[in-house]
């Protein structure tokens, strides 16, 4: 039976500032969802909150997989349950080689009971697998020996996120603007890789401002965020329409939320002025 990731009435605050204001979303294994919305509407916040970032405080609501609440779980426990986030801004870990990092990650995800210091995936099997995933993504083999994201270009970092996705094969993957910063060949590589990876065992939530990823990975559902809420649901056509026409239509259809967005923007600006 396929698993379900359920987000119910989720409110999230950062430093006591309410960012998400009651998000509902249901994603079933095997589905592709597009999550769109203007800058600052809360897409990344939702992604971080799903992974359990300590700064993103869930003030109300629940996140669950097949009825098991994730709210109290540490990020590593969530990852071991099959949740994955490809970061909008991947983090650099100096001195840690891509291959070593991934070997630990893969060992933990495939053996969720594994404790630190216990056996890792056999080196030979791991190397072989890593090599073929890298080839499929058009990533030079030397990257395996480089330090994670250290000195990587923007596009290389994004490809590294997809390499991790390919190695970890989660049940629910959130891709936060994985297509931004990629050149057009890379977008194609990555789109094709995602489409190969997706299937009945993986759900994908694609956060994007572009259409390329969605052309090959056609979403069954599209959700639109505005000021911390999901204000509209649709299918692939909605994503297409937003891409063509922008968010003016959405704001017009949801004047209350748009007003809130406006008020928040003004507040942020005042903050900025006060700070300087």
């Amino acid at each position: 039976m396929s698993s379900v990731l359920k987000i119910e009435k989720l409110w999230v605050a950062i430093d006591d500032k309410q960012i998400l204001k009651g998000v509902d979303l249901e994603v079933r294994q095997g589905e592709i969802h597009a999550l769109m919305g203007p800058n600052g509407s809360g897409k990344s916040t939702l992604a971080y909150a799903l992974m359990g970032h300590p700064k993103y405080e869930v003030t109300e609501g629940t996140i669950s997989i097949d009825g098991v609440s994730l709210n109290e779980l540490e990020p590593d426990a969530r990852a071991r349950m099959g949740l994955f986030l490809a970061f909008q801004y991947p983090v650099t870990i100096p001195g840690v080689k891509v291959a070593d990092f991934l070997r630990h990650a893969v060992s933990n995800i495939r053996n969720p009971e594994r404790k630190e210091g216990e056996g890792l995936l056999p080196m030979r099997d791991f190397r072989k697998e890593l090599r073929s995933r890298m080839d499929e993504l058009g990533i030079e083999q030397e990257f395996a020996r480089r330090y994670l994201n250290d000195g990587f270009s923007g596009g290389e970092k994004k490809r590294m996120e997809i390499l991790q996705l390919a190695m970890l094969r989660p049940r629910f993957a959130i891709l936060d603007e994985t297509d931004s910063g990629l050149d057009s060949d890379a977008v194609r590589f990555v789109s094709e890789a995602i489409s190969r990876l997706s299937g009945p065992d993986m759900a994908i939530i694609i956060i994007t401002h572009h259409e390329r990823l969605l052309e090959i990975n056609k979403p069954q559902q599209t959700h639109v965020m505005l000021a911390g809420r999901i204000v509209e649901h649709g299918d692939a056509r909605l994503a297409h329409e937003l891409h063509d026409q922008g968010y003016a239509g959405i704001r017009a259809r949801h004047p209350d939320v748009a007003a809130e967005e406006e008020a928040q923007a003004v507040k942020n600006e005042t903050h900025a002025v006060v700070k300087t």
């Binding site: 870990i93 840690v96 991934l102 990650a105």
Partner: protein, 436 residues
């Protein structure tokens, strides 16, 4: 006033000590001169610049004394010993030489590897010009005087002109007896064009016995010679480690020196490299991991005395719990040392809110055509890095450990000997508590 009882290092103890050793006159003379200096230096204050952050008040020298005989039964858990094959080995326990061996072919070519205690008897002509004269001088401070008066033994390596030793050599400095004092002296002499690698480690037989090390290391790298020296300090957490360690590199010689500080209750190392001849170069690597209530302190000095010399120092410190690390670095460039290239840097990573690091680089430059850079950084483990690792299934500790290992990699990458890189990485893992 009643006369003070005879303690570990007073005049009576000194006479008794000298009487047991049966050493040649030149050695006894050196000891006597040094003992007088020691008495004199005890009356003088320590240099505040070097010592003000190192609290020596809890150290009571009279609680320690050199052992009269050897504990043959002592077992040491060593880090390096089984990691590589060695062309020669010397071990000292409680100041006494407990084992030594050297590849016959090297011995036939005139290489000496053994204990200072024995070699001063048979090889005066080789040792006297170097022992406590050029690199470490008895009159440097009270600890060097103390050491020079009471040295108990130590590893000597002498490599004659043009002899290259490919396989590394190994030296163990062990403490077994409770209250034991080790005043071992490591002396390495490489003649013109010689080359060698010496890996040395310190170790305590038990985890709960108090110990004292007042040591000295002298590395004399002749013209065009090439020395790699590693000292891995891994005492138990009840041991005091006070040492003066100095290398002198002659014309076109190279020294690669790695110091690792893992153990001890308190450690202070005065580490000095002198670039004495044109084209000499030295690379100094420091790996320090302080936990619990340890204080690990370093005073490092890179002295350029000749033109076209190069020195490059990189220390990396990780601190946890309430540990403290002090690093005071100095590059000195004499007026004649034009075209000097000097570099020094200390990076610290703090894992807990209560640990503390003081890292102070410094330059004293008298020449005008030089390139010298220095820097020190201290940072905490970045919460975003931990989160990122955890999102990939690593536990919080595993993430922290990855980041620590990664931090040290910057210095491991500079260490040419693979066995050393591996050993350090394993030792750090063990100290972090991985795989227990």
């Amino acid at each position: 006033m009643t006369p003070a009882p005879s303690t570990g290092f007073d005049a009576k103890a000194f006479e008794r000590f000298v009487a047991t050793r049966g050493e040649p006159g030149w050695v006894v003379d050196l000891r006597r001169r040094s003992f007088d200096l020691y008495r004199q230096k005890l009356q003088e204050p320590l240099t505040p610049e070097e010592w003000k952050r190192v609290d020596l008040r809890p150290l009571q020298p009279n609680r320690f004394s050199p052992a009269a005989d050897i504990s043959t039964a002592a077992q040491f858990e060593t880090l390096l010993e089984n990691r590589a094959s060695f062309a020669g080995v010397v071990s000292h326990v409680d100041g006494h030489c407990s084992a030594q061996k050297l590849d016959d072919r090297l011995a036939a070519r005139g290489v000496l590897l053994g204990s200072l205690t024995e070699l001063v008897r048979e090889h005066r002509e080789i040792l006297e010009p170097h022992l406590l004269t050029r690199a470490v001088r008895p009159d440097a401070d009270r600890f060097t005087a103390w050491h020079a008066a009471f040295w108990t033994g130590g590893t000597v390596l002498y490599v004659p002109r043009g002899v290259a030793i490919d396989e590394p050599l190994y030296s163990l400095i062990g403490l077994a007896k409770a209250g034991g004092a080790d005043l071992s002296h490591t002396l390495v002499i490489l003649e013109d064009g010689a080359s060698a690698t010496l890996l040395e480690e310190t170790s305590s037989a038990a985890t709960d016995t108090a110990g004292l090390h007042v040591g000295a290391v002298e590395l004399l790298v002749g013209p065009g010679a090439n020395l790699r020296y590693v000292q891995l300090q891994n005492w138990n957490s009840h041991t005091w480690h006070l040492a003066r360690q100095a290398g002198v590199v002659e014309r076109d010689g190279t020294l690669q020196w790695t110091l690792a500080g893992l153990g001890s209750r308190l450690s202070h190392i005065h580490q000095e490299v002198t670039l004495a001849g044109q084209g000499a170069s030295a690379e100094v690597n420091g790996v320090t991991f302080a936990t619990g209530r340890q204080l690990l302190s370093y005073y490092t000095q890179q002295t350029h005395k000749a033109p076209n010399t190069r020195s490059d120092l990189l220390y990396k410190d990780v601190l946890r719990d309430e540990a403290r690390v002090v690093w005071r670095g100095m590059i000195r460039v004499d007026a004649e040392a034009q075209k000097t290239d000097g570099y020094q840097r200390n990076d610290s990573l703090l894992l807990s809110p209560d640990c503390r690091v003081d890292a102070i680089p410094g330059l004293e430059i008298e020449a005008d055509d030089v390139r010298c850079t220095h820097g020190a950084t201290a940072g905490r483990v970045d919460a975003e890095q931990i989160f990122y690792c955890m999102c990939r299934g690593l536990s919080r500790y595993e993430a922290m450990h990855m980041i620590v290992e990664g931090f040290f990699h910057g210095v491991y990458d500079r260490i040419a000997v693979e066995a050393v890189r591996e050993t350090l990485s394993r030792a750090v893992e063990r100290k972090l508590g991985i795989g227990r």
